[in-house]
């Protein structure tokens, strides 16, 4: 493992600057595709309505005053499990 990492460092040192940025992007993508999706998300072209704004403000205010609710608790209240959700969508 240590030898592999050393080798990876050596390879990166030998890359051209343009290739380094590609490698950095690739590593970020491999490590956390969600962060990349968020960072690259285009601006939404659907405008927020006044109603949307109000709903978001309400959620923001709630979030400031209360601890967040774990996902597992929400699923339990809905009577669902993660496996059930994944299975139901794959069957469709």
């Amino acid at each position: 493992m240590a030898a592999d990492k050393q080798h990876a460092h050596e390879l990166i040192e030998r890359l051209a600057p343009s290739q380094v940025s590609a490698v950095v992007g690739m590593l970020e993508a491999m490590l956390d595709p969600v962060s990349r999706a968020i960072a690259n998300a285009p601006v939404d072209d659907e405008p927020l309505t006044a109603e949307d704004e109000k709903a978001l403000d309400e959620a923001q205010e709630w979030s400031k005053r209360n601890p967040a609710i774990p996902h597992e608790q929400v699923l339990a209240e809905l009577g669902l499990t993660p496996e059930e959700i994944d299975r139901s969508q794959r069957q469709q």
Binding site: M26, P33, R36, P42, V43, D45, L56, A68, L80
Partner: protein
């Protein structure tokens, strides 16, 4: 994987949905959190983002690196019927905050510490006119048949191609690391067809044609008698002239084959983490002819691997001019069976990238059969969202084993 948490209003939103719709929304959320796949959009001027799931919009925020907080789940009908997107865009432009409404085609690795690291592709103004090369009659036939071509590459090259939408053209001199005699028109070929046969034979025998055949064979044999060493000064002079003329030539090399090649995987795809772009000869050229580049700037042809008597007989070097230098190669490279697309830059440039329509160029992306099984999943997981976004097909290797 990021942790999901909810606000109470969001929980109430999802509870108000029918079970099938709630399942659909939750499935999309799971998929996004696992792989980043999905249609996520940033809300301008806000920290929140919206994940589009059918007619529903899941509004979320990342309060820290490891958490996604669901703020609301809203139906899109709350949007005004006349969405008035255009006036809003104009307003953004006036305020100097214009951003494209949809930016997948502009997807690049974003860096906060400076301008975009990559230059744009070459344009008409930077390129000379070139011509396509019909090296042999059968090459023309191959063009008409539009054979399948393959570009074997490593992971970095693939990621770069997908994100930049630009095909890299290698400078001719940079190909010397693969073949020290690249660009010398196969002049050092010393393999001779045996026996030498005339290029045109008539039946029943035509006396005049037969005389021409004998003359051709005599001429070839006479030239073959000249020791190669004696020809070297003339050859070196010719190669030097070609090198000067072709200094700014950049080439994209493709392997012509109907099936994938074990040899090419091992040589050109770094074996273990390789990919192959599958296309056709005509599709490669057509995909390159984009708004800024006309067909007159793109040359192409099938590389010829002649024997020495073919070199003498066909006189391809005279017919093709300086293009012969890189469209004819030594027979030992014939397994590469190359199709080459080339451009000539007006100025000497280090790197040449050509803008390309990915959906036209890429018919399939194949994963190397040498990718270790443990790495296949992460690689596919990383590439699938990109491929889905671009409408491309990613094919996993078949791992059928008849032993063990």
């Amino acid at each position: 994987m990021k942790r999901i948490v909810w606000t109470d209003p969001a929980k109430n939103d999802v509870r108000s949905l029918s079970k099938p719709v709630a399942m659909q929304v939750l499935y999309a959320l799971h998929r996004f959190v696992e792989s980043g796949a999905g249609d996520a959009r940033a809300l301008e001027g806000k920290d929140e983002l919206r994940l589009r799931v059918g007619d529903y919009r899941l509004v979320f925020i990342c309060p820290d690196r490891d958490t996604i907080e669901i703020r609301r789940v809203r139906h899109r009908r709350s949007l005004p019927m006349s969405r008035a997107v255009a006036p809003i865009r104009k307003g953004r432009e006036r305020m100097g905050r214009a951003r494209p409404a949809t930016a997948p085609q502009d997807l690049t690795w974003k860096r906060k510490d400076g301008p975009a690291p990559f230059r744009r592709g070459m344009t008409n103004a930077e390129l000379e006119d070139v011509r396509c090369v019909n090296t042999f009659a059968h090459s023309g036939t191959r063009w008409a048949r539009n054979p399948r071509v393959w570009r074997y590459m490593d992971l970095l090259s693939l990621i770069s191609l997908l994100h930049r939408g630009e095909l890299h053209f290698t400078r001719l001199s940079d190909l010397l690391k693969y073949d020290p005699n690249e660009g010398t028109g196969a002049f050092l070929t010393n393999v001779v067809n045996s026996p030498i046969t005339p290029s045109v034979i008539s039946y029943p025998t035509d006396q005049a044609q037969e005389a021409r055949n004998q003359e051709e064979i005599r001429r070839i044999e006479e030239e073959l008698c000249i020791p190669l060493a004696e020809s070297l000064p003339r050859i070196k002079e010719q190669v030097g002239k070609w090198d000067r003329e072709n200094r700014n030539v950049h080439i994209s090399c493709w392997h012509t084959n109907e099936i994938e090649s074990d040899f090419m995987w091992k040589v050109y795809a770094r074996q273990e983490y390789g990919f192959a772009i599958v296309s056709t000869a005509q599709a490669v050229v057509k995909a390159l002819v984009v708004d800024d580049v006309s067909a007159a700037k793109i040359g192409w042809g099938f590389v010829v691997y002649p024997t020495r008597d073919q070199l003498i007989r066909e006189r391809l070097d005279i017919e093709l001019g300086s293009t012969a230098a890189f469209m004819m190669k030594h027979l030992e490279f014939s397994p590469e069976n190359e199709f080459r697309v080339f451009v000539r830059a007006k100025k000497c440039v280090d790197t040449c990238e050509m803008k390309v329509r990915l959906s036209d160029l890429i018919h399939e992306i194949r994963l190397s059969p040498f990718v270790p099984e443990w790495a296949e999943g992460p690689l596919v997981q990383t590439l699938t969202p990109i491929c889905e976004q671009k409408g491309l097909s990613l094919v996993r290797p078949k791992r059928i084993r008849l032993r063990g």
